[in-house]
């Protein structure tokens, strides 16, 4: 009796019944695929047939220049787009929080709207605006700002910038909302004290606002890093399958193409997925470490 009691102390019947549906879903939809992909990683897969190649997929990955190129693009987008977006979001948040009093709610909604737009829909719209004979080029040509149309989608450099532009458009408002919340948590007395001391608005921004927002900024950085590592829709739709000539190819898009477009090679695609998860995890870990040290 005593023994049975101690065992049942850890098993809460009702609790298990409550979590059973979620647990079953978790096992079926998350744990099982993750475990079975461990098997996929060791296989050379081709449609219905596959054979064991051990770590062969990883060996192939090290030789695969296109994979490294794609990974480089992920980091490039991260390095250029993330600081740009966070800085813009910060400025917008400060202006909405302090500078403007009328239409604040409307403007907030306006800046947040891109984040709820369908990925494919906005990629297609950007494509129409940015194509060689598109709206932006015609507009700039008519104003005589440029003499030759710019290959926003055709030129390797401009295509990368197009992706940066699109990502910034979509996610700035989203991050701005976090900063707005962060700003409202800063004690106004600090600003009043600074004003008494004669600190300018600019000085206040750099010496009070930014240091006090560091935790929110880091939170934005972690989520954006994750998002950029998984970048897929924009290069697939906006710049035609990572074009021109793979100039905007990303790891996630390359994985998809290995499995579903070019080779039916689900083994290699799984191996690359594991590497991508590993890199994302490592980056998140470093950022969280950094966050803890700072706060």
């Amino acid at each position: 009796m005593d023994k049975k009691g101690s065992y049942y102390r850890y098993i809460n019947n009702i609790g298990w019944i409550y979590v059973a549906p979620a647990l079953l879903l978790y096992v079926g939809l998350l744990a099982y695929p993750i475990l079975s992909s461990l098997y996929l990683v060791t296989q050379k897969w081709q449609g219905y047939s596959h054979k064991f190649i051990g770590l062969g997929n990883f060996a192939r990955m090290f030789r695969d220049g296109l994979f490294w190129q794609a990974l480089g693009h992920n980091f490039l987008f991260m390095a250029i787009q993330m600081p740009l977006m966070i800085f813009l979001a910060l400025i917008l948040a400060v202006i909405l929080n302090q500078g403007i009093h009328r239409f604040r709610g409307t403007l907030r909604t306006f800046f947040f709207l891109p984040a709820v737009t369908s990925l494919v829909a906005y990629s297609v719209l950007f494509r129409i605006i940015l194509q060689t004979n598109g709206l932006l080029n015609s507009f700039m040509m008519n104003l005589h700002l440029i003499t030759q149309p710019i290959g926003w989608l055709n030129d390797p450099f401009w295509a990368k910038m197009t992706i940066v532009l699109a990502l910034t458009w979509r996610w700035t408002g989203y991050n701005m909302v976090f900063f707005l919340v962060g700003l409202q948590n800063i004690d106004t007395q600090i600003y009043e004290a600074a004003e008494v001391d004669g600190a300018s608005r600019l000085r206040q921004f750099f010496n009070i606002t930014i240091p006090l927002l560091v935790p929110v900024i880091l939170f934005s950085a972690v989520t954006s890093t994750n998002g950029t590592m998984q970048l897929f829709d924009e290069p697939n739709v906006l710049t035609w399958e990572g074009g021109p000539a793979n100039a905007t190819m990303t790891v996630a898009l390359y994985i998809y193409r290995q499995a579903f477009v070019l080779n039916s090679d689900f083994g290699y695609a799984s191996a690359l997925s594991y590497v991508m998860v590993l890199i994302s995890g490592l980056l998140a870990y470093l950022q969280i470490r950094f966050l803890r040290e700072r706060s």
């Binding site: 047939s49 192939r60 055709n154 390797p156 021109p244 000539a245």
Partner: protein
């Protein structure tokens, strides 16, 4: 509690098995019946192949009113969707799907048994253009029903040639690429605009040039071989036209269509299935003419005919209504009856879809003048004639990956990253080997 968990798991397993058994039984009953049946078909262009299958459904409804054909339009990524369905053991797949001829060999090789053998089901393949039958054949089995031909020509705006003082009649003949490039130079010098519209996201121009010589892009063992005279010459012409500013480079299909429909460019090389797209601009009536595909120079087998695209219908083995699906395709596309020949005649006029069912080629629309074109040119008569000269091309399972690699290399050539033809070929070959893991 433990007992409860055990019961839960056992129930789950039993329910799972019951579903599995149910599926097996349903797949077993594949014989035809007179019960109401729906056949689902996937294709990608409601104005072209979607239209054709609806016309076929109308023909079949007269013989079997109990069968409904449900046409589903998959505008992009149809191969990825099918790939996902095949990996899931046929879940979510339609009964019939349309495949580009260059895509099917990859599926036949990677997914053995995924398609119904239609030769065994009694389709007479001697009635079809033989170059269409090759890609769908695997040993003794033949899997598809050929749909359309991709017979190509050089499309030119006769009115634009006249506007700069040229006589369109001078170009209605077999020409070589150097002759056509000379024409493009004149058009550029006098009209100020590039003559050729090309879509930089595909390799249609390259493919049409190479195939007009009958050159294969792969060796017999399936390895890529781009070091051929035809490939080199095609890239040389493409590079020359790009360097001289004779190409209007559009990104993507819609942009490309806009380029010639809006008059930004006065010509392009493409198959006859583009006719439907041309006719969406009634204001261009009387302006377009088509002349033979330019030929390559000094290469064995070079001729003024080529092929681009073309697709065929396939029945999935996972279909629950296999017999009906096969019968539908057979009765409407592959049986020599007046109704079937009239059907082919109808879709030719209706959508510019030229079938490859040889008995149908005597239809009235094949020789009829078409008032949409310059001097009411009877364009289908020309394309049918050129189709007979198209050399056979063996696609291979690696073809889709090759298309991507060559496209990327040509984009690098356009961007100035590659400066020579040899560099372009080496770049494409290397990219192909990397992506396919060879």
């Amino acid at each position: 509690m433990k007992r409860f968990l055990v019961i839960l798991f056992v129930t789950a397993i039993l329910v799972g098995n019951a579903f599995a058994n149910g599926k097996k039984e349903a797949a077993g009953s594949a014989a035809m019946s007179n019960a109401p049946t729906t056949i689902t078909v996937w294709d990608w262009d409601p104005n072209f192949n979607g239209y054709a299958i609806k016309e076929a459904a109308a023909v079949y409804a007269k013989i079997h009113p109990n069968v409904t054909i449900d046409n589903v339009d998959i505008p992009t990524g149809i191969e990825s969707k099918i790939e996902a369905g095949l990996q899931a053991g046929g879940q979510g797949l339609p009964d019939i799907a349309l495949f580009q001829d260059f895509q099917i060999e990859r599926f036949v090789k990677n997914y053995p048994g995924a398609f119904v053998d239609l030769k065994a089901a009694g389709v007479d393949y001697s009635q079809f253009a033989q170059y269409k039958v090759g890609p769908m054949t695997d040993g003794n089995k033949i899997y598809g029903i050929p749909f359309d031909t991709g017979s190509t020509g050089l499309w030119l705006r006769a009115d634009m040639l006249k506007a700069i003082g040229l006589n369109p009649a001078d170009y209605q003949k077999n020409m070589t690429w150097p002759e056509v490039i000379k024409l493009a130079e004149t058009v550029k010098a006098k009209g100020g605009k590039p003559m050729f519209a090309v879509d930089t996201t595909n390799i249609d121009l390259f493919r049409i040039m190479v195939q007009s010589t009958g050159t294969q892009l792969f060796k017999a063992d399936g390895t890529l071989d781009l070091n051929t005279p035809a490939v080199k010459q095609a890239l040389t012409y493409i590079k020359q036209m790009n360097d001289e500013g004779l190409l209007y480079k559009a990104e993507g299909w819609n942009n490309w269509i806009a380029a010639f429909n809006n008059g930004d460019a006065s010509g392009f090389v493409q198959a006859l299935w583009i006719i439907g797209t041309l006719k969406t601009k009634p204001e261009n009536a009387g302006k377009w003419m088509v002349v033979p595909t330019p030929s390559m120079v000094g290469i064995d087998g070079a001729r003024n005919a080529s092929n681009n695209g073309g697709s065929s219908w396939y029945v999935f083995s996972s279909s629950k209504n296999k017999a009906t699906a096969v019968d539908f395709l057979k009765q409407t596309w592959a049986t020599n009856t007046p109704a079937v020949n009239e059907f082919y005649n109808t879709i030719l006029k209706g959508a510019g879809a030229m079938g490859t069912f040889l008995p149908s080629r005597n239809g009235s629309n094949y020789t009829a003048p078409d008032s949409y074109f310059y001097q009411s040119q009877p364009v289908y008569e020309s394309f049918a004639k050129w189709m007979a000269e198209v050399p056979t091309l063996n696609y291979t399972p690696g073809y889709p990956a090759m298309v991507n690699s060559v496209r990327d290399a040509i984009q690098q050539l356009f961007a100035g990253k590659y400066t020579t033809v040899d560099q372009t070929i080496a770049g494409a070959t290397q990219a192909y080997n990397q992506v396919t893991g060879n």
